[in-house]
């Protein structure tokens, strides 16, 4: 019964420490864009989001204490999402492809306030 295993481990994990790490990461991800470098922004934005998600899933949701298949289950769902993206992007993301084009349409511009 994994409950007992859970009991044992819960006291080792220092949740507050993990929380502090998460806050640190949050600050980095907010600070990232100020460097005005596209690549850095993307890395600090999404790389760090993935790390944060990993920390929360592992330590707060205790996926590390669950039987493996729980993790595989969630990963499979993610795989389906990526599969969906990969197969749909050629039609929806692109503006032209083999023997078809999407002429650009004028999008209603939101009013800009400065």
């Amino acid at each position: 019964m994994s409950e007992d295993a859970a009991h044992a481990d819960h006291h080792q994990v220092n949740y507050v420490r993990i929380w502090l790490i998460l806050l640190g990461l949050l600050i980095v991800s907010v600070a990232g864009p100020f460097l005005e470098i596209q690549v850095v922004t993307l890395v600090t934005a999404f790389g760090i989001a993935i790390i944060k998600a990993y920390l929360v899933a592992k330590n707060f949701m205790h996926l590390n204490l669950e039987p493996r298949y729980a993790v595989y289950l969630l990963l499979t769902m993610l795989v389906f999402v990526f599969l969906f993206f990969a197969a749909v992007a050629p039609d929806v993301m692109k503006h032209e492809g083999q023997n078809w084009v999407k002429p650009r349409v004028e999008v209603v511009e939101a009013p800009v306030h400065h």
Binding site: Q98, N99, W100, V101, P103, V105
Partner: protein, 235 residues
């Protein structure tokens, strides 16, 4: 088999019919085989007094062979179908031969608008001929079509050409056809497009060079028609 019910009047129509025939033969073989054995077993192994069933788990290799070998054969058949399918698909949708003329086809609720290039054989010029629910093409010429939709999805379907392509608002889709016989046939809208979907019928007129030229002459706004006729006849 489509050719049993209507003519095949485009260069690739017979390819599609042959592909369909190939598939019919291959799957037909498996279908007859399976159903045959299936019903034979039902008859052969019907309940008889005092006859006890054989205890077959099918877990050992000697038994599994009976299903694993056939399904390898199915895979082989699939490969044949796959090659044929992709070949035909490539010829119709992916590889467009050089066109003699280009027509614009616009679907809207609930009519087809066809823009013919007119005497100068160039689209989007002053002498274009615009018709509603009437597409006039010349036999033996490669046509490109630029397919558009004004409001909702439509589908440009010419059964005698075996051609079908949806029209998507916000997209211009290019395709081609080359007629191989003259006559007048249906053009359908094959994608539900609202209340008038069943009314959205058009006709395609496949004409000999002479009559096509005559039609252009009669329709074209200018007097260029004469020269146009000449040029159409020589090419």
């Amino acid at each position: 088999m489509p050719q049993l019910y209507l003519e095949a009047l485009s260069t690739y129509a017979s390819d599609i019919d042959n592909l369909i025939l190939l598939i019919a033969v291959l799957v037909g073989f498996w279908f007859v085989l399976c159903e045959g054995i299936f019903f034979y077993f039902i008859f052969r192994f019907r309940e008889k007094d005092g006859v006890r069933t054989e205890y077959i788990t099918g877990e050992n290799e000697r038994h599994k062979r009976w299903i694993s070998y056939p399904h390898i054969l199915v895979l082989v058949c699939d490969l044949f179908i796959l090659v044929g399918a992709i070949q035909v698909w490539y010829d119709i949708k992916q590889h467009l031969p050089e066109p003699h003329e280009t027509v614009r086809i616009v679907g809207q609720q609930w009519a087809w608008t066809f823009v013919h290039p007119g005497p100068d054989h160039v689209l989007d010029t002053a002498d274009d001929i615009t018709t509603v629910n009437e597409l006039h093409v010349e036999v033996g010429k490669v046509y490109h079509f630029k397919l558009e939709a004004r409001d909702v999805l439509h589908s440009f379907s010419v059964p005698v050409f075996r051609l079908k392509q949806d029209a998507i608002p916000g997209r211009i889709i290019t395709g081609w056809f080359e007629a191989t016989g003259v006559g007048e046939y249906d053009i359908q809208c094959a994608e539900i497009c609202g209340i008038g979907h069943g009314l959205m019928a058009a006709r395609i007129f496949i004409e000999s060079p002479e009559s096509h030229a005559a039609w252009i002459a009669e329709k074209s706004p200018f007097q260029l028609a004469v020269t146009a006729t000449a040029s159409t006849i020589e090419d």
